[in-house]
């Protein structure tokens, strides 16, 4: 790699650490500041002096306020529910289709794949208007279904799974058929377990994308008890407590905390999952 081990000099190593600590520090600054403010009482927040740690710990009050004034636990729970529902449905619908594209021969296969590729081209925001109209006419708006239904089929998911399924040897499929498995059973019992890395990567991609999504929930739901985390925190910000930075920051911290913790634990999977989306 850049710099042979035996030739990397001390000064160079120190410079590297120094630079990376500076950039890392700058990059993490919003997080640090967010946390710091969430621990401070209003008096300290609005004084024009700098300190990271609060003189007077106000954490309990801030977090308590965040959790009660706005239904934050509800928002988080909605996030879990909606992301889980989307993911499960996505796998249920995309995996069999990907399997058919990868392993079966049928008329229209190429046309179908073309359809999938076309779907990959379209960013979901441009479909918002007609899908909104569709949701409206089906009476789905302002329900959990509204948050879920536009995403249940994912062209990216079909593409990714197909890629992976193709690399599984055909003979395994033949053996499974001889053993008497139906095609659907082959998908669940053979293909998906063998394609675990792709499943994990896709799951992470899907969960992160929908946990963080603001655009569609903003359009699709209005009542607070349906709001997922991103929308919830946006509403919280524009609500009555908009000048109370303490609880506001506490709310923000709580919203990003689940994914942050998961990321720290499973860093590699997250990075692979999120970058595979673009390397499609």
């Amino acid at each position: 790699m850049i710099g042979l081990a035996h030739r990397r000099t001390r000064p160079a190593a120190i410079a590297r650490h120094a630079l990376l600590l500076v950039t890392g520090g700058l990059v993490l600054l919003p997080f640090v500041w967010m946390t710091s403010l969430s621990l401070k009482p209003p008096s300290e927040i609005f004084q024009a002096s700098f300190s990271l740690l609060p003189g007077h710990w106000y954490a309990a009050e801030n977090y308590h306020k965040a959790l009660t004034v706005a239904p934050l636990p509800r928002y988080l729970a909605n996030g879990v529910l909606v992301c889980a529902a989307i993911l499960v449905l996505q796998i249920l619908i995309c995996a069999p289709c990907a399997y058919a594209l990868a392993k079966l021969e049928f008329k229209g296969r190429d046309a179908l794949f073309g359809l999938v590729l076309f779907g990959l081209l379209l960013p979901h925001q441009i479909l918002a208007l007609p899908v909104f109209i569709l949701g409206y006419s089906l009476g789905l708006l302002n329900t959990y279904a509204a948050l879920v239904f536009p995403f249940v089929v994912s062209p990216f998911g079909i593409f990714l799974f197909r890629q992976f399924f193709r690399s599984i040897p055909d003979d395994i499929v033949h053996a499974a058929r001889l053993d008497g498995l139906s095609e659907l059973a082959i998908v669940w019992r053979i293909m998906l377990p063998m394609a675990m890395p792709a499943v994990i990567a896709f799951s992470i991609f899907s969960v992160v994308a929908h946990w963080n999504d603001l655009f569609w929930p903003l359009i699709a739901v209005k009542s607070p008890d349906l709001m997922p985390p991103a929308l919830g925190v946006a509403v919280f910000r524009s609500g009555e407590t908009s000048t109370e930075y303490g609880p506001l920051m506490a709310g923000a911290v709580l919203v990003i905390l689940p994914l942050m913790l998961a990321f720290v634990v499973a860093q590699r999977w997250f990075i692979e999952g999120l970058t595979s989306a673009s390397l499609k």
Partner: protein, 318 residues
């Protein structure tokens, strides 16, 4: 199936096409067809309903005067488009978006490349630095935007306090029309640099060590020479790819505008997707919003197609 099995039993699988084997062949094909339909049916139906028809619908609506709740519609040709492009608000939005992308893309690519090179240049703490710089990409932008708002607060925000202490000029960053767009761009860079960094890290890993050895022997062993002779040329394809992907994400910027500025002051920070949202869902001007959507679609599809082209040429490069 019985015809087939009896053929097997007799041990004579002759290539002669008699009626029994033909019909069993056809039945097999039918079975395959049914299986394929069952497996792909839901996906196809949903793809059509949620992707294809909506995409067509957007184009159609853009060409009509349809309003929400209206019972009928009339084709008005390109009237919506001319209205859109005549609107100074939209033109401002488009201009802002192009400026925003022009700031975010180079900034993100350089920051991502720089951090990737720094991280790869040593062996220690790589995972830690990678995680730290990737965190903004993972975090809910809606939430971190609020943190940025606190940082950028004109009186008690850390940025102004630090700048004042260092003797640098301060400003009301989000309320001043000259600074608001660059500041949003900065937040965009902040959010996306981890993503660019990780893509570059993958690209760096793919450079064969042999090339560096050859460069050493050839005399190109200083860091700048190595960069010019091996690293940057080999990263060329990856860099092109990163540019397109980051540009796509930059065009889709929405959250920061919605939460922090709502397009203000005036139209200074209005971005394309925000305009789309406003017109389509707050003002409920369907035809107008659809026209904006089509403009957005054209940009996005063009970028994606360029990306696809680049993927192809990457294969030929090696």
């Amino acid at each position: 199936m019985t015809a087939a099995s009896s053929l097997c039993h007799s041990g004579a699988l002759e290539p002669s096409r008699d009626a029994a084997s033909m019909s069993s062949l056809r039945k097999r094909k039918l079975d395959d067809m049914l299986a394929a339909t069952a497996l792909t049916g839901p996906a196809v139906a949903l793809l059509l309903t949620l992707f294809i028809f909506p995409a067509l619908a957007v184009v159609v609506i853009a060409l009509t005067d349809w309003q929400f709740g209206a019972k009928s519609l009339r084709f008005v040709g390109l009237a919506n488009f001319s209205a859109v492009f005549a609107d100074p608000g939209f033109r401002a939005s488009l201009g802002n978006t192009l400026a925003y992308v022009a700031m975010v893309v180079p900034g993100t690519v350089l920051a991502g490349l720089g951090t990737a090179l720094l991280i790869e240049s040593g062996k220690s703490f790589r995972a830690f630095y990678r995680a730290a710089h990737f965190l903004p990409f993972m975090a809910t932008l809606a939430a971190t935007a609020i943190a940025w708002e606190a940082l950028l607060h004109p009186t008690v925000g850390l940025v102004n306090m630090a700048f004042a202490a260092l003797g640098l000029p301060t400003a009301n960053w989000l309320r001043d029309e000259t600074t608001v767009l660059p500041v949003l761009a900065l937040i965009g860079i902040w959010q996306n640099l981890g993503f660019a960094m990780v893509l570059f890290l993958a690209g760096l890993k793919n450079i064969p060590q042999d090339l560096y050895d050859a460069a050493d022997v050839d005399g190109a062993d200083q860091w700048l020479d190595r960069l010019r002779t091996v690293t940057l040329p080999m990263l060329g394809p990856v860099a092109m790819f990163v540019v397109i992907v980051v540009a796509l994400r930059a065009f889709e910027a929405f959250d920061t505008v919605q939460i922090l500025t709502q397009g203000g002051p005036g139209h200074a920070s209005e971005l394309l997707l925000y305009t789309l949202y406003r017109e389509s869902f707050e003002f409920l001007r369907a035809g107008y919003g659809a026209a904006i959507t089509v403009v957005f679609l054209v940009i996005a599809v063009t970028l994606t197609l360029i990306q696809v082209r680049l993927m192809d040429s990457r294969v030929h490069y090696q």
